[in-house]
Symmetry: C2
Subunit: 339 residues, 2 copies
DNA sequence: CGATGCAATGTAAACCTTTACATCATCTGT
DNA sequence: ACAGATGATGTAAAGGTTTACATTGCATCG
């Protein structure tokens, strides 16, 4: 009794004294089967504990009702709350979500491609900022795909994410409104589309405030804590310090704050810092980090909605959905010049 | 050309001028097929771009070569590095890993049970500290299961995790060796097995140091940042302060540090704090948190190894694998009495 | 040379569903 | 009373794979 084979549709049919076809119909098209029969079938299902074998079902139907979400790093603080949005939306449409963890390993990527090729998932959601790997050859065979959180560089994959430009502009405008005129941008990049756009938001705000490009301090960085710390060192070398640091993301901002603290400065008295993303850690910094909040669950929800739409009707012209973020005011920005 | 159906084993067979049986053998038992045939088959596979349809394979074989990992919160900082250990070990044995995100929602748990019942996974790894839900009825039908990181309360599910008692004892001994005699334990619990054990390690160390139980300050807590902050307040109310805080985990320790800082104390001069887990954030606290490091990848690796073993030979007597953690010395512990 | 065994390959069943089509009974309208 | 429609159910094929068993050809041995 402990290890009996799971019940099949045939067991149910026998018990309910109908054919397997009727059982299948009773489950999926209840209105097509007489009420009395339906009851008998349901009873039989309850008795046997039958669950339909997803393998057989997918094989027959040619689809799995599963969406694969590919992420390089599950630990990314942005990931989990976006995932919740994705899952909720998927579930509402009868789809399940599988999470693929690539660890930025191309071999992993390839493994998951096999997964897709063998029909184990009907759609693909990319959290990675790039295609599963070398991106030609097999890419043509990819199922409907949507990029989320980070656009796929140099590709026409539809994208759902935050409005980076508008968000960054909000942040910069807040610094300006607080009285800052010397605002550094930390974390400039040539390759990451989202970061490019944040830079653009910064420029737009400063343009509007008539701050000459020559007066803007811009430091490169890859968006890590370490890069933020490094940027501070660099500015000290150059001996040109702003009154406020606008960081391309929260990780950079944390690095900047650490770097300034290590140099003995008192925040937010001596410098203002603003981030982007609103990672969980932002609340627990001293001072708590003022930042732009990613509308994570909205992003997740809409990305999944777009993907599911593309699934049934695969030629959407919609290429980008940008969601407007809010500024979260905490303690890391003050008026300048109190020093 | 864009949307052609994926190649099946039959396409390969036709092209290689053999039967489908031979193709299957060439893939899975290469030694059973003549060298020349094997070459022809491989060529045909390359040309057609054939990948075996996992659905059909699983259906036929009665197993999926997949392991389901159930976690209530993907965002848990402990989760991602354990996952890497799990994945690596699984992969080495030809298994894939699916991640299930329950969000502590019983309905989700149920959904994943269906997943298991329909043979979409051969084994179950619980990261949750409890069974997929109400834990009777369907539990009997569960595939081989192993709990990881947190034991399943009141159940005989095999468990792989850190040696809480030994780790906590190490921490307490380190405080003692640093000269502390008045050490509070923050985060006592009656229900969480791992936390109970940490408490025990604390007691063992203090027993050995001949510190009377009456002199030990023990404060309840559920292991959150908030609970740590609260515990500090409570101690201030009682007006009995230790020189060192031994916290049941890092989250609690962070709360304690925040609480002390909010009261205006200077750490680590005024108080010493030690944690348990070594979450990523521990490095970025000021002072950096001295703590006990979870041997995460080892835990992941061994948990998966145990599960896969149970898969083929399902009656292991081994019920618990405890892995010894190391102390990570940073800046949050100093000698007492400098105040 | 005939029997025996082995290596290489093929044939066909089985895994469990879904669903187009066939069948049958019953009802409607004339 | 009968043609035809309608509704409920059954039959059987198909989906792609693995594998037990059958077949074939060939070499080995007495």
């Amino acid at each position: 009794m402990s290890t009996q084979a799971p019940a099949t549709i045939e067991d149910v049919a026998r018990l309910a004294e109908v054919s397997i076809a009727t059982v299948s119909r009773a489950i999926h098209n209840p209105e097509k089967v007489a009420k009395s029969t339906r009851q008998r079938v349901n009873q039989a299902i309850a008795i046997t504990g039958y669950t339909t074998n997803a393998m057989a079902r997918s094989l027959r139907m040619g689809r799995s009702n599963m969406i694969l979400v590919l992420a390089p790093d599950i630990g990314d603080p942005n990931f989990s709350s976006i995932l919740i949005g994705l899952e909720n939306e998927a579930r509402a449409h009868g789809y399940g979500v599988l999470i693929g963890h690539t660890q930025n390993d191309p071999e992993r990527g390839l493994e998951y491609l096999k997964f897709l090729n063998s029909n184990q998932a009907d759609g693909l959601l990319l959290f990675t900022g790039h295609e599963p790997f070398g991106h030609q050859e097999m890419t043509q065979r990819l199922p409907p795909t949507v990029a989320v959180f980070e656009p796929v560089f140099g590709s026409r994959v539809p994208y759902v994410g935050v409005d980076d430009t508008a968000g960054a502009r909000k942040a910069a405008e807040y610094l300006l409104a607080s009285g800052h005129r010397s605002i550094a941008f930390i974390g400039d990049s040539k390759t990451r589309l989202g970061h490019l756009r944040r830079r653009k938001g910064y420029d737009l705000a400063l343009d509007a405030a008539r701050i000459a490009p020559a007066q803007r301090l811009v430091v490169d960085g890859e968006g890590t804590i370490e890069s933020g710390r490094l940027a501070v060192e660099q500015l000290f070398m150059r001996d040109t310090l702003p009154t406020a640091f606008m960081c391309v993301n929260d990780a950079t901002a944390i690095g900047v704050m650490n770097g300034l603290a290590a140099r003995g400065y008192d925040l937010p008295r001596d410098f203002s810092v603003i981030g982007f993303d609103d990672v969980p850690q932002a609340t627990y910094m001293t001072p708590a980090l003022t930042t732009v909040r990613q509308p994570r669950s909205a992003i997740g929800r809409q990305a999944m909605a777009l993907l599911l739409e593309n699934l049934t009707q695969p030629l959407t012209e919609q290429r980008e959905v940008l969601i407007m973020p809010d500024l979260v005011v905490r303690g890391s920005v003050t008026m300048p010049g109190k020093r």
